[in-house]
Amino acid sequence: MDREEIERLIARVALKDRAAFEELYDRVSAKLFGVCLRVLNKRAAAEDAMQDTFVKIWNNADRYQANGLSPMTWLITIARNTSIDRLRARKKGHQDIDTPGMELVASGPSPEQSAIAASEASKLTGCLDALDADRGAAIRGAYLDGETYADLAERFKVPLNTMRTWLRRGLISLRECMSQ
């Protein structure tokens, strides 16, 4: 998918260009629906999450440029966060995950920082696999299945604080591996 093309469409959506919005939908909805389905695992819920995702895209496209994310990262992260919010919605006391570009202040150094992160991204899978198996599984569980620290502590049968320390170390190892 051509990055500039998607950026151009998001910029036009920011100006409330309906034709551009429909074109953007046609270009990216299959990828976003795949992500919603992966997280929610149920078609009806995934359809609802995707509709919510595109409403957020329509309402917040004008905030996209400020956050320095690549366009597909922005779109996929909205779909992922919306799906996980829906997955967790039944749990008591759930606080919604914030969506990028709606909550992030315009970040000065971020475009370069994000560009570096994007170039590192191809290494993610290899680096996740290089972590201790449990740590890699915990990071995947948090990102793709919306598992909380409490869920993870239960799955790995460790105290909550140990889980947090583990996962934090895993994240630092991950960042180091990806930047090499």
């Binding site: 920011a14 100006l15 409330k16 260009d17 309906r18 034709a19 939908y25 909805s29 299959a30 629906f33 795949g34 992500v35 389905l37 992966r38 359809e47 995707m50 509709q51 595109f54 409403v55 329509w58 905030r63 956050n67 320095g68 994310l69 690549s70 990262t73 996929i76 992260t77 992922r80 606080q95 914030d98 990028p100 909550e103 992030l104 202040v105 315009a106 970040s107 000065g108 971020s110 920082q113 994000s114 992160a117 994007a118 991204a121 191809s122 993610l124 899978t125 996740l128 990071i139 948090a142 990102y143 793709l144 909380t148 620290y149 320390t165 996962l167 934090r168 994240l171 630092i172 960042r175």
Partner: protein, 230 residues
């Protein structure tokens, strides 16, 4: 595990950003992360970098074509048909009550039609708002006479800048409708724009004094509104 030194403030900040991007922040951590993401550009950059790293986990997810009904339902919810009964489409105005826009239309009428006490053709209007600041502008359009009454009810241009009104039509470059120097400004509505009023969106950008030099917006888009029949 206990013999490790406690994290430095930088490390703690990096953990917070990573956990926030993963959706693991809870309670006070979530409040702090959310607050810093809104105010602290370095922290926001760290969150964005983590989002960029983590999104690669979706690379292996195959696209799945969604059913056509999702697209239909989405379009219907975002762009309700203008032909639906009058009262049902009032929600389109969101923050704006119909009464206040109708009142503006009445107030704008002497500006638009000084010599005509009766309304000749349909009147259109919109409320322009943005997310940069509290700028709020109402525009009332009279296509049959070719006039636009622009009323600024809140906000102001950044210092040293002026506000410029643009007509946006699908698949066309923005067309300048003129500067909006005062709280109430009367501008001309060109016939070629009036002819496409059903697809018209208005936007306001900030520009250097005298307006955009090349005839295309150069500053930030500060407010946008979709034109509808009143």
């Amino acid at each position: 595990m206990t013999d490790l030194p406690p994290p430095t403030p930088e490390e703690e900040s990096e953990f917070l950003a990573a956990e926030y991007a993963l959706g693991l922040s809870e309670g006070e951590n979530l409040t702090e992360a959310r607050d810093r993401a809104r105010r602290d550009s370095l922290f926001a950059g760290a969150v964005a970098a983590w989002q960029e790293r983590l999104v690669a986990m979706t690379d292996a997810i195959a696209p799945v074509a969604p059913p056509a009904r999702v697209r239909k339902a989405l379009i219907k919810s975002l762009f309700p048909n203008i032909r639906v009964p009058f009262l049902q489409r009032l929600w389109v105005w969101q923050g704006l009550t119909f009464a206040s826009l109708a009142m503006l239309a009445v107030l704008a009428m002497p500006m638009l039609r000084p010599d005509a006490p009766t309304i000749a053709g349909p009147i259109y209007g919109t409320q322009l708002t943005g997310t940069i600041d509290d700028l709020q502008v109402y525009a009332v359009l009279d296509p049959s006479r070719g006039g636009i009454a622009v009323t600024r009810t809140a906000g102001a241009p950044p210092s040293g800048r002026v506000l410029e009104l643009w007509a946006l039509l699908p698949d066309a470059a923005p067309v300048s409708l003129g500067l909006v120097p005062d709280d109430a400004t009367h501008l001309k509505l060109p016939p070629e724009i009036a002819a496409q009023i059903d697809n018209l969106t208005l936007a306001i950008s900030d520009e250097p004094p005298g307006g955009a030099p090349e005839g295309a917006p150069t500053g930030e888009i500060r407010a946008v509104g979709t034109v509808e029949e009143i």
